[in-house]
Subunit: 170 residues, 2 copies
């Protein structure tokens, strides 16, 4: 067992011993979803004020709306959410590379079979060169998608990893 | 401004006023990633023991490894993580429907244009009929992928929304 795995078991022991929320329902109580980045410096519950049971939280590299579309449709159509809070952040890794860089790294580090798998899956890493415009573009993508009806409120925000502040963009 | 948006602003004010972690580096300090579900009843930081800055947290509907592959490759190749903790959970919405159900709901609720968008994107909702085998299948998928080298430790777990416990499966 790795140190990380031991840590999960210890955390589970501690968390479950004081756990009192076993009654919560499957659909989010406040009917919204937060889409943010996987970045290690973001704690959505504290930074964005999400109580347990209140909202779906989707996280991927860069808080990509395109990448999250499957989860968003499930959240809305099967579990009744009707608002999207999209939060990208300063210092995001997605600002630092392009698809060809990632493909090159995979080929160099993992070899030609891995590169071939990447190509056969046609993986688009969805990096972006500028933060604020990326927020606007993702919000525009969601608003233009027929899979996100006009009745769903969509807002776009930037979380500052330096200050802990979350600021509205759109 | 919606009630949810006001809530984000209030949470940001409170969180940032006591924020002391502006110095954290971009790469996760403990070099691992957690992949779990978007479910509103999961608080990964507390339940799995993740301190701010320690790990990437990827969340999507069902904690799907296939869906998360883009983010996983970025986490490993660009940001140096080398361990994956995959956690699905009891009472998951993904146990309750099939692709055709979701396609039917979209057609009924959002109309033919939305159904056409779903089809043109070939969205696979990646639902699963049984929890423990879904964990094993996703871990097997990651271990068999050339994009996840053998040096990456992969473990599979189930979080119990009823008890707050996280139990190792594989």
């Amino acid at each position: 067992m790795t140190t990380i795995q031991k840590n999960v078991e210890a955390a589970s022991e501690k968390y479950s011993s004081a756990f009192t929320k076993g009654h919560l329902a499957l659909p989010p109580a406040k009917k919204y979803l937060v889409l943010t980045c996987m970045d290690a410096r973001i704690d959505p519950a504290s930074a964005f004020g999400i109580d347990l049971g209140d909202a779906h939280v989707i996280r991927n590299a860069g808080a990509s709306a395109v990448d999250a579309l499957r989860s968003i449709v499930i959240s809305e159509q099967l579990l009744g959410t009707n608002e999207i809070v999209l939060v990208k952040h300063t210092g995001c890794g997605m600002l630092t590379f392009k698809n060809e860089d990632a493909y090159g790294l995979v080929a160099k580090n993992l070899g030609s079979e891995a590169e071939a798998e990447l190509k056969s899956r046609k993986l688009d890493f969805l990096a972006f060169p500028e933060l604020e415009s990326a927020v606007k573009e993702d919000v525009a993508f969601l608003k233009s998608s027929k899979l996100v009806p006009d009745s769903v409120a969509v807002s776009g925000w930037i979380y500052e990893v330096e200050t802990g502040k979350t600021k509205r963009v759109v």
